[in-house]
Amino acid sequence: MTQHPAPVPAAPPDVGTPAPDAGTPSARRPGLPGWGGLRDLEREAAVTALFDRHHTELVRLAVLVGAQGDAEDIASEAFCELYLRWPRLRDPAAAPAYLRSVVCNLVRMRLRHLQVVRRHPEPGLPDAGSAEQEVVLREDHREVVDALRGLPDRQREALVLRYWLDLSEAEVAATMGISCGAVKSHTARGMAALTKALKECR
């Protein structure tokens, strides 16, 4: 993943936005898959359309919920999982929610792995943070991001899904695999902790 300075904040993506025609990955798609089959072609076309619409959104989601350097790998892994499980998908409209759920799970697994690695530190491990990103953010934004990073994983996920992607509580619950009540609890506790941390910063 490459991160460049961008002064314009990115708005939450529109889920129903159609894929653009020119310049998108699907417009320069390579040839047919080696194993052939009409069903494979349909599956590949459907996953490619989803890639066009949601890949950037998923990379950003991965960064916001805690992945740093390997956010793009996590998003790519989510699309691989979707491609392999496409025949078992009950409704193609559920694919974006499935992708978000896979990204959140993979980021959580990565953070757990990093916690284990940090308990047994080895010399030469790269820093997970992005210095460039820190420089680009304004001071007040950095305070909020630092406070967000200090929250537990579930609370951070709930806040990002709720307030960045503007998902409903039911959609957040489906993405995180928890109940709506648990989403309300995580969101309320996360906001309270965030407000407290921001007050302490002032």
Partner: protein, 114 residues
């Protein structure tokens, strides 16, 4: 600072942080190669498992046939059909109208068989 202000600041900070993220231009090509490679590996693994199972089933069947005595039937254990001399009714059959028991109705013995 109340919670509404915190939510506004959170939205703004999340948007700003998301705006710093750019994806690499060859992300699609790499993902496409990756998911094709995984699909090919999944199918090859399935074919290999099916081939191993088929070979094992063949081996077990050949071993069972090989270890049995030549005279003992392995698959069908029904007695051989009764010999019927030419022109005579087959022995062990029921009177007319009843089906013969234990023999196939259409069984024809070769002439001169015991």
């Amino acid at each position: 600072m109340n919670e509404t202000e915190s939510v506004a600041r959170l939205r703004e900070a999340l948007g700003a942080m998301a705006g710093t993220v750019r994806t690499s231009p060859d992300a699609y090509e790499r993902a496409l190669l990756d998911w094709r490679r995984r699909e090919r590996r999944r199918r090859l693994t399935g074919l290999a498992v099916a081939a191993v199972l088929l070979a094992a089933a063949d081996g077990v069947g050949l071993w069972a046939l090989n270890r049995s005595a030549p005279a003992a039937p392995v698959v069908f254990d029904a007695p051989a059909p009764a010999v019927a001399p030419s022109g005579a009714a087959p022995s062990g059959t029921a009177p007319s109208g009843a089906a013969p028991t234990g023999t196939a109705p259409s069984a024809v013995s070769p002439p001169g068989a015991p």
